[in-house]
Symmetry: D2
Amino acid sequence: MAIEGTSERRERRIRLGMVGGGSGAFIGAVHRIAARLDDHYELVAGALSSTPEKAESSGRELGLDPSRVYSDFKQMAIREAKLKDGIEAVAIVTPNHVHYAAAKEFLKRGIHVICDKPLTSTLSDAKKLKKAADDSDALFVLTHNYTGYPMVRQAREMVQNGDIGAVRLVQMEYPQDWLTENIEQSGQKQAAWRTDPARSGAGGSTGDIGTHAYNLGAFVSGLELEELAADLDSFVEGRQLDDNAHVMMRFKAKGGQRAKGLLWCSQVAPGHENGLMVRVYGTKGGLEWTQKDPNYLWYTPFGEPKRLITRAGAGSGPAAARVSRVPSGHPEGYLEGFANIYTEAARAIFAKRRGEAIDPAVTYPTIDDGMKGMAFVDACVQSSKRNGAWVKL
Amino acid sequence: MAIEGTSERRERRIRLGMVGGGSGAFIGAVHRIAARLDDHYELVAGALSSTPEKAESSGRELGLDPSRVYSDFKQMAIREAKLKDGIEAVAIVTPNHVHYAAAKEFLKRGIHVICDKPLTSTLSDAKKLKKAADDSDALFVLTHNYTGYPMVRQAREMVQNGDIGAVRLVQMEYPQDWLTENIEQSGQKQAAWRTDPARSGAGGSTGDIGTHAYNLGAFVSGLELEELAADLDSFVEGRQLDDNAHVMMRFKAKGGQRAKGLLWCSQVAPGHENGLMVRVYGTKGGLEWTQKDPNYLWYTPFGEPKRLITRAGAGSGPAAARVSRVPSGHPEGYLEGFANIYTEAARAIFAKRRGEAIDPAVTYPTIDDGMKGMAFVDACVQSSKRNGAWVKL
Amino acid sequence: MAIEGTSERRERRIRLGMVGGGSGAFIGAVHRIAARLDDHYELVAGALSSTPEKAESSGRELGLDPSRVYSDFKQMAIREAKLKDGIEAVAIVTPNHVHYAAAKEFLKRGIHVICDKPLTSTLSDAKKLKKAADDSDALFVLTHNYTGYPMVRQAREMVQNGDIGAVRLVQMEYPQDWLTENIEQSGQKQAAWRTDPARSGAGGSTGDIGTHAYNLGAFVSGLELEELAADLDSFVEGRQLDDNAHVMMRFKAKGGQRAKGLLWCSQVAPGHENGLMVRVYGTKGGLEWTQKDPNYLWYTPFGEPKRLITRAGAGSGPAAARVSRVPSGHPEGYLEGFANIYTEAARAIFAKRRGEAIDPAVTYPTIDDGMKGMAFVDACVQSSKRNGAWVKL
Amino acid sequence: MAIEGTSERRERRIRLGMVGGGSGAFIGAVHRIAARLDDHYELVAGALSSTPEKAESSGRELGLDPSRVYSDFKQMAIREAKLKDGIEAVAIVTPNHVHYAAAKEFLKRGIHVICDKPLTSTLSDAKKLKKAADDSDALFVLTHNYTGYPMVRQAREMVQNGDIGAVRLVQMEYPQDWLTENIEQSGQKQAAWRTDPARSGAGGSTGDIGTHAYNLGAFVSGLELEELAADLDSFVEGRQLDDNAHVMMRFKAKGGQRAKGLLWCSQVAPGHENGLMVRVYGTKGGLEWTQKDPNYLWYTPFGEPKRLITRAGAGSGPAAARVSRVPSGHPEGYLEGFANIYTEAARAIFAKRRGEAIDPAVTYPTIDDGMKGMAFVDACVQSSKRNGAWVKL
């Protein structure tokens, strides 16, 4: 039970605004719970919808002060930046194509941005956003939330500690089944925007979930992707974006060790609700983590019995303890992992407030992770168009 | 993704106080997160410790108004009851022997009580508390938190729907390993009070975790315990309370069907972090749920393939959906289950506020569940003293 | 791949007879495969049925020399004992009530007996059989086949090596579901004799599977049962023998360490095909083995990560290697475990042939294990009749 | 318990010879057990080693008549073909490069051949062997043993029955870890020949295990491979053949449905002993089977709860029952699966003996499966040399 933990509020709460996430939106509610869990944030303003009536009713439901309910994110950025107690950070939870336009308004006014992934819908937007983030003193946090899971942190720490030797293989998969049938044409809103190139970008499953899998593989292995060869499909009749992707990867050698990877993402694999998994194999051992059972990490040192490390249990180290709340055997889940991104961001924001340097242990996905995700999607699409030719990243 | 869900705040937050739960207390932090998760409560006052300095520092850390930080729960009850915006509910998270004294002060002033389990440390206190709760118009909610897990609700609903026929067997177990060695004498605070009869009561593992297992078995099966035969042990040298218990059970027949049960709880079973499990078998099928993998429910209709029902997935019904937040495949855990008790309590408190009847679907453990838990511990201790004789409940 | 293994035939095959096991009998076929697997036996004679026609047709199907097909086991014993190349060993696979009468005929003629469990149908028969076995120079092997599984051997070896410290707890369970409904009255032959006191004895589930679970717990833990308290049931209307049993156990202290146990066996637990499981907990660690996944052994040293030891894999020792055939990752199953009993018996028979002492490493269940099983069933029945009073073994 | 089963001997045993498989050889012992399990074969002759002394001692150990122990397979073929009771079938269990030369000698003399996989070490040998098999009236059986597992048969049957709709995806993997280090240069014999191009052929992991995975995927899905793109590696310094392969696949459309696949095989993935797995996804559901837990098959009909079908349990159909021996819950393993190939072969051989047509239900891998495996390896090697270009099969 020696958990350092995420620590509850001991500093004044961060005033948070939100763009997107009106009534009925799945990911907006997730961000709000994540922000609330450790009590480091207080939602005080929102441009929750671009439809004024919906923005208003959503704001009312969430108990926001009506004067701080907006239907336009730019207005919100302008006004909140001027308020004495204006928002210090904003969560952007819109469809992908709005990310850039929204984020830049807040970044240029020094308001920290916590943005859903993928970074943007186009590579050109991504580059502009990268510039906006680089030019701003405000933080840019991308919610590649799966990196917030304690046992993912544990895996990364073990790779860094050399527990599995030099990494040779990174196997990633992220199968789902919710798009097995053509529900985008029968009114399912989530499906509609996620399969629409105008709102999602050039990647379907690659953008929506492939980026998560790739990000996780890179996060855990510490490797950098050099080139990939991809075979994308839209299995469902009439679907405009890929719903399945097979990707072979070659990573940059590290310490003289060549490394390869395989990535499968799918939204048409019946039986898989959210089957994100990452497996990493090195010269001395292996690691396996599965999102649906997130409190476990298999560690398989070569030539020794398999070990099952549990969150906050024996063998679980400081990187996991830092983002754990409850003792081992008491499962933490998706929301806690998501909240860890918010809490790590809060630690950074608190440091900024105090004018101090950010503790190097603070870990969250950044604009650069976002750029890599965009480059990954772009390379997948390019490679697939060229019949699976290798494309450099 | 058709989750009715726990619904975020749409009503004014409930003003909450807390007794116990100062810095470093595990369960206090858990209650606070649980209260916060769905944004139905706001912690505004606390008697977080009976040591004034600790009460004060704990209150400061949590950002409480200093005028509402108390070192005496009675003072808190008296003053808060008079304030215009005084607390509407209080969470009691002290060691067991304080529950009764604290709870009665709030109940008699009409302040709703959310109390940790077991109900009290003695049966006599329990009876007095039962009276106090019955005499009060305020609600009494006991945090048998495991009943808040969606798939536990699902299991109960399936039993009620007759999916497994008439119940014959209820097998409960709750093994842990944290008291495998005598840590209570080497300064581990949690261990110290939980193995101390003066603070915990007559039951050790039976009171601390056996009550949870029994409560869960009864909750899922809908059966009432008639008699039990128990064999208790204190395996660790010098330990004053039981750290292992074997219990045979006979339930009251229901619909003409006799039913039996077996309960094992232990704190000396190496490898078990928090191994609560309940299995129920009827004339037509079986159900199995394990706390460490809480998003799964095995349903085994006799003569058909085994089915794995996942939270919010196919086959998961309204009772589970009511206490779910995120889509299937996105695991929820211990804190979400705990929060569900708080959210169900909030639904009841909102109804009270409005002077309306409480929706019969609202489900949380009550004073009567607490009484049953106390009777269970008492019967275990009596039976074991009488060499495992059957003791009526 | 360093498996010592079961070794194929390097000695002249043992000439084997069989009593029972005619066409359609499940367990007869199992014994024959078990005898054949490592090529140490050759089936040359049989009294496969007491019905002459069936005995004859069964013998013909198995390719037996017609002159060595009998319809009476006594005739077979008399004649085979006189033949120059008569059988050296006999497998007895009849219903329980025939075991004693058959076994004694062979034992008294110096023919080794390999007998199915439970030992007999009555305690009085068991005592007589014990005497017959003690008086004979021939070996008596009881097929408590589950002790033949490599990872059961591994568990026992680890307990002996002190890997889990002094044993405190032995938890056994053996749930099945095939008697959930009253199939004995609708012509299912297996069910008919197994629920018939005249053919099975006083115990139903306790005799059929409870003895296996108890035998396994004792085998792995090395403990001796001192007393038990049992609550037996016949849940199915009209059933004459128990179909579910709850048993609390107290073992004889070993090395000053008191130990307790719990045993559940059931034939009315839907979803369990053959759910034999044994878990042992000591002062330093725990072990868990489940029959349906027999190539795995969980080893949980206190305070360290859980370890999964696999058959013939890392951490698997000589006791398991001795009864393994194929490399790790290539699952062995029920028939291989059963064959291991036959192969261990063959090793003993070969030693006898050569007039040598039997290697102390040779391990198989004996008449004494059979006696303990009978005493267990008897104690269960007595205790249950006396409302769960403790009965000494 | 309604198992049709593999049926024990009811016909005169098939006289079997063996080429290779002398003392110490792993796969030779496996073939012998497989041949013996259902008692359809009798080993009567052998060219167990090309070293005369070893051939002789191995023959003696196995109890063969010395006059039928050979050190040259050609001599054995010639002489046995002339004997009145000469062998009817031969098992070839040598390293790959001997397969062709040995097989042709028996095929041309009308002796049935049961040959280990892969078919040969070179494509040119394979073509010649194909011709030899086609020209012979004798049967040619390839021991792609994993197709013998009952739940693999079950999966294939369900695909054929349309239970998962039209197949879109076939995901195969076969990771092992035994070649993680360079053991071929430190005297490990198995490693030495399997990593030697002269004895194994052009493929390392692709030939040794990749062929199994591909064969299994094709067997279950019923699809035919059209083209593949592969990225092969030899991660271990100094290794001459691939020890890891990533392969993207495109299958021929069936019923208008395009299908893709992914295959990963590796011998350098620590923690994987023998991790063969196949997953197939169609328009209506998915199937998942893992070799290390072979008695289970996950069936996931889209939009319904996941189902776990167990061997011989509810939901398990005739194709599995045909190759099952014991009731559900009694695990069968690798040897039983292997034996099923032998038993299916025996059924065909019995039909040949009687001059009858072979029952169409008889299922075993043939020369054509062997040819496909060789083509797969060749295509992998070609594609990898051409930097992952698509290669038609």
